[in-house]
Structures are given as C-alpha cells and as structure tokens.
C-alpha cells in the first residue's frame, strides 16, 4: 500500500513528463546534420558578419570563385571608389586588412587571392565586386572555423535572412546562374 503523498508525487511527476513525451513524439524533423551557411543571393553585404559572430575572429570569410573572375586590371573589389589613383597604396584599396593579394598573370590581367588569415569577413570587397564586377567574390561561413552554434548569432541579426541551414553534405552555397535565379 502506498501513501497518499507518494501517490500524489507519482501523479505530479507523470503529469510533468506527459507533455514532454507528447512534444517529443510529435516533432517533425529528425535530421540533425545541418550546417549554417550564407546564401550569397540574399546577402546584401551589410558588414554585420564581421562583428556578430561569437568567435573573436569571425568564421565568415570572403571566397573567390576564380572561374567567374574577369581578372580585371582595375578590380572594383580591390580598389576603393574614392581612390586617388590606381596603385597599391592603402588609401586606394578597399580591403581594411590588406587581405586581397594581387598577382600579375599577363598583360593586362591580374589574379586576386584572398588571404584567409587576414580576412575579417566585412564584405566590403564583395559589395564592390557585385556592384561593378562579375560578383566572383562572395561571403561564406568557413565550416572549418564555424562552431555550429545552436543559434547562429549572425543569423539572428542578419537583415536579409541570408544565413540559412544547409545539409551537411553540401556545406557551401555558390552563386546560381542569373537565369535560374528564383
């Protein structure tokens, strides 16, 4: 024979458990292998990725898609809009940390490489490239750096809701061709 107190306790415990078991049974998606990524089509390069990440050094880096690059001499991702002249002096360059490395290939073409150690993910070059160039520079969350927080801080404040979850077997989102754009 169990006492009334014990019976009430068991009843209370069961009553607590029941809604949780119900919630668990009703959940829809069981797939857990999702990663955070920036959709470059939605990204407006507001520059919040640089500071919003929980990591001291943001996991967002600029990625250069070489196959899409025009190898321009006057790269609009490399040079600032208010440049004084086209040389490599810091006041003429867009990148605040000098993370874009420029290499001569053949006249008049240059190859641009992102130094990921130096890149802070501010997206200034991305904005320039998208405005006047081919859009071959874009921001991506580097999955090797990202901690996959439960709730990405960047996703929380991103004004264009560009930070989305992607399946783990396709960890990066590259730009889609213009005609397929939905």
């Amino acid at each position: 024979m169990i006492s009334t107190r014990k019976f009430l306790r068991v009843l209370f415990g069961g009553g607590l458990l029941a809604p949780f078991l119900w919630l668990i049974g009703k959940r829809k998606s069981r797939q857990a292998a999702f990663l955070w990524q920036i959709d470059p089509d939605k990204c407006i390069q507001c520059g919040k990725c640089e500071t919003a990440c929980v990591l001291g050094h943001s996991a967002v880096k600029c990625v250069h898609q070489y196959a899409a690059c025009g190898y321009c001499l006057f790269c609009s991702g490399y040079y600032q809009d208010k440049r004084i002249k086209f040389d490599t002096a810091a006041e003429n360059l867009r990148c605040p940390t000098d993370a874009i490395k420029r290499k001569y290939i053949e006249d008049p073409y240059f190859e641009y490489t992102i130094d990921e150690e130096a890149c802070i993910g501010c997206g200034k070059c991305v904005k320039g490239c998208a405005a006047f160039g081919n859009g071959s520079l874009f921001l991506q969350i580097r999955q090797g750096l990202c901690k996959q927080c439960n709730q990405c801080r960047i996703a929380e404040i991103c004004p264009s809701h560009a930070v989305v979850r992607v399946p783990a077997d396709k960890p990066y989102l590259f730009k889609r061709p213009p005609e397929v754009k939905t």
């Binding site: 306790r9 009703k26 580097r142 801080r153």
Partner: protein, 401 residues
C-alpha cells in the same frame, strides 16, 4: 561546385599558361553525438556517486572542474541549458532539425532530476560548473528579494516559449553570457556575470536559467533527496550559513493553535484572491504583448517600411522582391500568437506566484532538523562539509554536544 556567376560583365580571359586555382573548401567535422551522450551519462553517474554515496564537497569541486574542461571546452558548451528547450519547441512548432542525440541530451538531465534532484547543475552543465568554480565569497541575498528574483527565470521561460512559437530566432541564446568564454572570447555581459558570480553564488542558474525552471519542477518530486547529516541533527545552523544558494530549510516547531488559526485565515484570503491575481497576470500579459511583439524581426520590418525608414532590413526586403501583402500576412500571424500567448503566459506566471504563496502558508509538519529543498539545491556538497557531524574527526564529541 558550379562555376557560374550572378552577373557576367567581364568574360574570363583566355590565358596561355595559367592553371585555374582550385578552391579548398573544408567541411565541418562533427564528433559522433554518441560520445557526448555517453559522456553525459557517465558524468552524471559519477556525480551521483560523489554526492550521495561519498558525500564529498571536494569531489564535487573537482567534478565542476572536469565539467568545464569536458563539456565546456572539449564539446564547446554542449549540453547547453539555454538552447535545449528552445530546440525541442522549435522542432515541434517549426520543423527545426532535432536528432535523437540532442533529444537525449535534453531528456537525460530532466530524467535525472526526476529521480535524483539537480545533479546536472553540479558539474555536467558547463555554465553551472563555471559559476561554481568562480565563486569566491558569498553574499546572502535576503529571502524576500531572493524569492522575487527567482520568479525571473519563470517569466523568461514563459516569454521564450511564446517568442519561439511566434517564430522568433532563439531569443535567449544572445543573452547566454558564458558561451563566449568557451570560444576564447568575451562580451560585456560575460564580464558582468563573472564579477557578479564572485560574490553572488550562481547568479545565472538562480535568476536567469530557463532550463533550471524545468529542472526545479522535476526535482520537486525527486525520488532521492540529499540529507545534510545521516546522524541526528544538532541544529547548529552551520549548514544554513554554508549554503550560498539558500536551499537549506531551517527546522520548524509544531504550530500553536493561535498560529494555525491565523494561517487558515491567510490561506482562505489567498485562495479567495486567486481569480483576481490570475486576471491581473492576464492583463499584464495583454499590455506587454505589443511591446514584445515589436521586437519580432518581421513586425519591426513592417513598421520601418510603414514610416518609410531606410535601413539594411528594408533595403534587403526591397531587393528580394517579396510582395508586401505576404509580409503583412506574416505580421498579422505573429501578432495573433503574441496576443493570445502573452496573456496566457501572464496567467500562468500569476498562478505560479499564487501557488508559491499558498504553499508557503500550508500546514507544515514539525521538523527537528535542517533539510534541503531539492528544487533549489545545486548539489555542491558545501553543507556536507559544513556539518560537524559529518566530519570524520571526533564524531562522538560532536554528537554529544
């Protein structure tokens, strides 16, 4: 990888001898969730043994240290008390991914609380472990203030449930002050909570943690509860002074007839005012609903568009080409959820306050020893260390005096 661009203004030049560099894109390597679940299980078993069998405060401190190392730094704050219930809710309401591993991480601490009290808080919770280690000198908070502050987590919990159902991103995650610590960075709230934690024991656990609300509820009916001394209590008060969390309840005399009459009168007054209190709670929720829903991103966006303010969100919305009617529809839905959810949450909060007041005035049995309230005990073992009867040296003298 699809090498296609969004705008093709400049065609790629044809080089003679130049090899197109290949992008090196690394992928995320996740350790199997089985490790985390089994580590948590093992850790809880060891915590239980240290707390209930060996009754050692030193072992509990060591466990907190191990908890910070394993669950904090190795697993990057993994069984996260802040995010877990939001995950479950979001998985239920909005198709948010939630695997079996995460589900187990959520359920195991609750199941433990149901049987053995809040063992999870002692060391397995990385946030709790950090606060346990960085507590230096305790300032006892006066009981009425403490009780009032203890309502904050309940209010936060209810608020977050409504916010998550309304489709806000996990609102509490950005308030988690200890997460940056495990990622080797910091923020203002981290420093503030750490400094506060030096003097007030476990400020986050006691006055913020929403998962703690669930643990508190579940541990109310804990099957096994800690007892400060296995011998007869000498009511020396040392354990009450030693507990920084106010979880030790003093002994009580049997109520006199006069007190009993007064208690019954107070109780009947409380029960009579119950409907009024619930209405007040509902009103509070109803008044706060527009304030809270104003922080929902969609609501804010629509408000900005209506007053023709230009900011990043408005710009992004205009470039995306989404019709305004769709946004208005979404906002109406969000407002609907808040308009119903907030009064409900207010009623529940008022109900909790009244239930606590009623429980305070219930008829109590006479008790001759200091006991532990399992719903407030974080299983640190300080009372074991403080109790003179538990010390191995001269046990007979202590019992005689």
């Amino acid at each position: 990888m699809i090498p296609i661009l969004a705008q093709a203004r400049f065609p790629a030049p044809e080089f003679e001898n130049y090899i197109l560099p290949q992008l090196q894109m690394e992928t995320f390597i996740r350790d199997p969730i089985v490790w985390r679940v089994s580590a948590l299980l093992l850790f809880l078993v060891v915590t239980g043994l240290c707390f209930y069998r060996w009754r050692s405060a030193k072992a509990m401190r060591l466990l907190a240290l191990a908890g910070v190392a394993i669950f904090g730094f190795l697993f990057t704050a993994c069984p996260c008390p802040v995010g877990m219930f939001q995950n479950l809710l979001a998985a239920f309401v909005h198709d948010h991914p939630l695997g079996y591993g995460l589900l187990l991480l959520f359920a195991i601490p609750l199941a433990t609380a149901l049987f053995f009290g809040r063992l999870f808080c002692a060391g397995a919770c990385p946030l709790g472990a950090v606060q346990e280690l960085l507590h230096w000198k305790s300032i006892q908070i006066p009981l009425p203030v403490d009780r009032a502050l203890r309502l904050i987590p309940i209010a936060l919990f209810l608020l977050i449930v409504v916010a998550v159902v309304a489709g806000m991103t996990f609102p509490l995650c950005s308030l988690d002050p200890y997460l940056p610590l495990f990622l080797w960075s910091s923020s203002i709230s981290t420093v503030a909570f750490l400094v506060l934690g030096l003097f007030v024991s476990r400020p986050f656990c006691r006055y913020v943690c929403p998962y703690g609300v669930l643990l508190r509820l579940f541990s109310l009916v804990a099957w096994k509860t800690p007892a400060i001394t296995v011998k007869i209590c000498i009511t020396c008060r040392l354990c009450e002074q030693g507990c920084p969390n106010g979880a030790v309840l003093p002994p009580e005399d049997a109520p006199t007839a006069d007190l009993q009459v007064r208690g019954v009168r107070r109780l009947s007054r409380l029960i009579a005012s119950l409907p009024l209190a619930l209405c007040l709670g509902g009103l509070l929720g109803w008044y706060t609903a527009p304030i809270i829903s104003g922080h929902h991103p969609a609501v804010r966006l629509l408000a900005d568009i209506e007053i023709h303010q230009t900011n990043d969100a408005v710009e992004a919305f205009e470039t995306s080409g989404t019709p305004l009617a769709q946004l208005q529809n979404e906002v109406a839905q969000v407002r609907h959820i808040f308009d119903w959810g907030m009064p409900l949450a207010g009623v529940l909060l008022a109900g909790v306050v009244m239930a606590e007041l009623i429980a305070e005035n219930r008829r109590r049995k006479e008790s001759r020893s200091y006991t532990i309230d399992p719903s407030l005990c974080f299983c640190c073992g300080r009372c074991y260390a403080a109790c003179p009867l538990n010390r191995k040296r001269e046990p007979k003298e202590g019992a005689a005096s």
